[in-house]
């Protein structure tokens, strides 16, 4: 096996609230290969979002190392991290996080705008994405003119427009009804089949079970790391190397 895409070792994240300390992440050691489909599960407050933010370079660990594609990214400067985010990571949020004043097409183009990609190229890619996600006749609609499912499709199109290696989704179906949620999950799984590493935070057991690998978090610690192949789940508590 070649070097894993993501390697965490001994990650600690401590929040200080006044005098008290919250150990949001404790000695997390984890390795994720390129192309994996991973669900992060656990009760509320167990550190799932904190882990995802860390993987997305939005947050820095207090201890431990994080290697992305063989490169230590914890020591990068803020600007270098921004660049890694731009090129390699796509985010999908529970509350969509679309810019309300921008149209669907403009929201999808936003990462390319920030990366300084030429307008002609942007137009091409946005049109393709609109087609891929069935949003052609919603291109000029603003978020408040879109349904929840359409909004999340716009958000997924935006997350993938830079062709990232990893897509991080924090409760992507949390604000959607069951059928719309399933549709969104299918889109994400489609991406994974295309080779994108997919990490989904969820506390929906059914949703988590669809992933080939499930992480169970508890009080900032990794409780279980189990590989499942279509329902049958050979459990392994040992942290991956």
């Amino acid at each position: 096996m070649s070097t894993p895409l993501i390697e965490l070792s001994g990650i600690e994240r401590v929040f200080h609230l006044g005098d008290s300390q919250v150990h949001a992440l404790q000695s997390i050691t984890l390795s994720i290969a390129a192309g994996e489909y991973l669900a992060v599960m656990g009760p509320s407050g167990s550190g799932k979002s904190t882990l995802l933010n860390l993987l997305g370079l939005l947050d820095r660990p207090d201890a431990g190392s994080y290697r992305l594609a063989g490169r230590d990214v914890t020591t990068l400067s803020a600007d270098e991290q921004a660049r890694v985010r731009s090129e390699r990571i796509g985010f999908v949020f529970q509350s969509f996080h679309l810019v309300p004043r921008l149209t669907a097409a403009e929201n999808i183009a936003l990462p390319m705008l920030l990366a300084g990609i030429a307008p002609a190229q942007r137009g091409l890619r946005v049109r393709q994405a609109l087609r891929d996600y069935g949003l052609e006749n919603r291109a000029d609609h603003r978020p408040d003119q879109l349904s929840g499912g359409q909004r999340q499709r716009v958000a997924i199109a935006r997350a993938t427009i830079m062709r990232p290696a990893v897509v991080l989704a924090d409760e992507p179906t949390g604000n959607l009804d069951r059928t719309t949620g399933e549709e969104v999950v299918r889109l994400l799984e489609e991406l994974n089949r295309g080779g994108v590493t997919l990490i989904v935070v969820t506390h929906d057991g059914a949703l988590g079970a669809r992933a080939r690998r499930q992480l169970l978090m508890q009080d900032g610690m990794l409780q279980q790391d189990r590989q499942s192949s279509s329902g049958s789940s050979p459990e392994s508590c040992a942290p991956a190397t």
Partner: protein, 402 residues
């Protein structure tokens, strides 16, 4: 981020909140318009005064009795104590100077003029036939004082347009006898109306021969000697010659003040120029206020758009990109305000010119430039703090906010 995209992004962000944007642009516009209109007024006043002085006559060298401290013109010296008389002989002596073209002595006092039971107080100017040419005055009717011996003079008077109207109404004034003081004069001319001017208002002036005026006021001294140099270049030599002649005539003592019109103009120019700058400075304060408003509005905007800032960071925006986006927005708002203010200011100045055609209310170029530059600079300067605050936001916390 490309510059064009940055500008478009900032524009969309600005137009995203119409009311806020309009208020801010308006505040900036009022500041810039204030600079434009107020400097137009001040500079208009400066030009107006200069025009008035130019109207007095050109190439003028003015001699007044008494030594002024500065040697320059000082409005406080307009009435000076007289250590030694400035006489008609002095004035006549100046005619011999090579650089001097014309000389007009001037004695001034107040007296009463009456005709047919009507009586009023007037300013009486005693002078000679040269006066009308030196002061560039025009006659509406009749003729001016006749040439002749300065030390004598016939009992003839030229009256201002207003005096004519008040004393004679619709009747013919020319050839009429009037009583000025205790003497009778024949009206031989009426000055053309000039409207309100600086210093002496010729509309309310009565002009009589200088010798008679001195007799009337029982004084030997002149109020002024007006010397017209033979050309613009001759002003300096004329001044030197006049100085020398009078020094010799006054036993080597320099006891007169000689001012050239240039010096008067320069002094007024300086004085009123300073006023313009001061007014511009006061108007600029409103720009500073607008700048603080920019800061406030941008800070509110950063707070309102916290989640968006977090998102932009998640999508790969660097701190610099976010800072630039907010700075661009502040700059665009300021620029829009400045341009609107320019338009408003120019319109205001044009309106003033329309209402008062005699008053050249034009904003000076430097003030327009400075107004716009100050608007931009304050907008940017006060935009820096909010922009930096936005750039430094923690992405995770920003995203968590809604």
């Amino acid at each position: 981020m490309r510059a064009g995209d940055l500008i478009r992004f900032a524009r969309d962000a600005a137009t995203g909140n119409r009311l806020r944007t309009c208020l801010l642009i308006l505040a900036m516009a009022i500041g810039v318009a204030a600079v434009v209109v107020l400097t137009a007024l001040a500079d208009g006043a400066r030009r107006y005064v200069l025009n008035q002085f130019s109207a007095i006559g050109s190439n003028l060298v003015i001699v007044l009795p008494g030594r002024s401290q500065t040697g320059g013109f000082n409005p406080g010296n307009a009435i000076t104590s007289t250590p030694r008389d400035l006489t008609i002989d002095d004035a006549q002596a100046l005619r011999r100077a090579s650089a001097v073209y014309r000389v007009a002595p001037l004695a001034v006092g107040t007296s009463e003029i009456s005709v047919g039971g009507r009586l009023r107080e007037v300013m009486v100017a005693g002078t000679t036939t040269e006066f009308i040419a030196v002061r560039r005055l025009a006659l509406a009717q009749g003729r001016f004082l006749p040439p002749g011996d300065w030390r004598r003079g016939v009992s003839e008077a030229v009256i201002g347009a207003r005096i004519r109207d008040e004393l004679f109404g619709r009747d013919e004034a020319l050839g009429q006898l009037v009583r000025i003081g205790d003497r009778r004069f024949r009206v031989v001319g009426v000055l053309a109306a000039t409207g309100q001017g600086l210093g002496m208002n010729t509309d309310e002036l009565v002009i009589i021969p200088v010798a008679l005026a001195q007799a009337m006021f029982n004084s030997n001294t002149l109020f002024r000697i007006l010397v017209e140099a033979s050309s613009r270049e001759a002003i300096a030599p004329a001044k030197a010659q006049v100085t020398e002649i009078l020094r010799l005539r006054h036993e080597g003592e320099q006891d007169v003040t000689i001012i050239t019109q240039d010096a008067v103009l320069a002094t007024f120019d300086r004085l009123l120029g300073t006023l313009t700058i001061a007014v511009a400075g006061i108007a600029a304060i409103s720009l500073a206020v607008a700048g603080i408003l920019v800061m406030n509005v941008m800070l509110v905007s950063v707070t309102q758009r916290t989640a968006e800032i977090g998102l932009l960071k998640a999508l790969g925006a660097t701190g610099a990109t976010i800072r630039n986006a907010f700075l661009t927005e502040a700059a665009m708002l300021s620029l829009a305000g400045a341009l609107l203010g320019l338009a408003l200011g120019h319109a205001g100045a044009a309106l003033i010119r329309q209402l008062y055609p005699a008053f050249p209310a034009l904003p000076p170029d430097w003030a327009v430039l400075a107004g716009v530059a100050t608007a931009l600079a304050t907008g940017l300067a006060f935009g820096v703090l909010p922009a930096r605050r936005a750039a430094r936001l923690d992405a995770v916390q920003a995203l968590a906010k809604r």
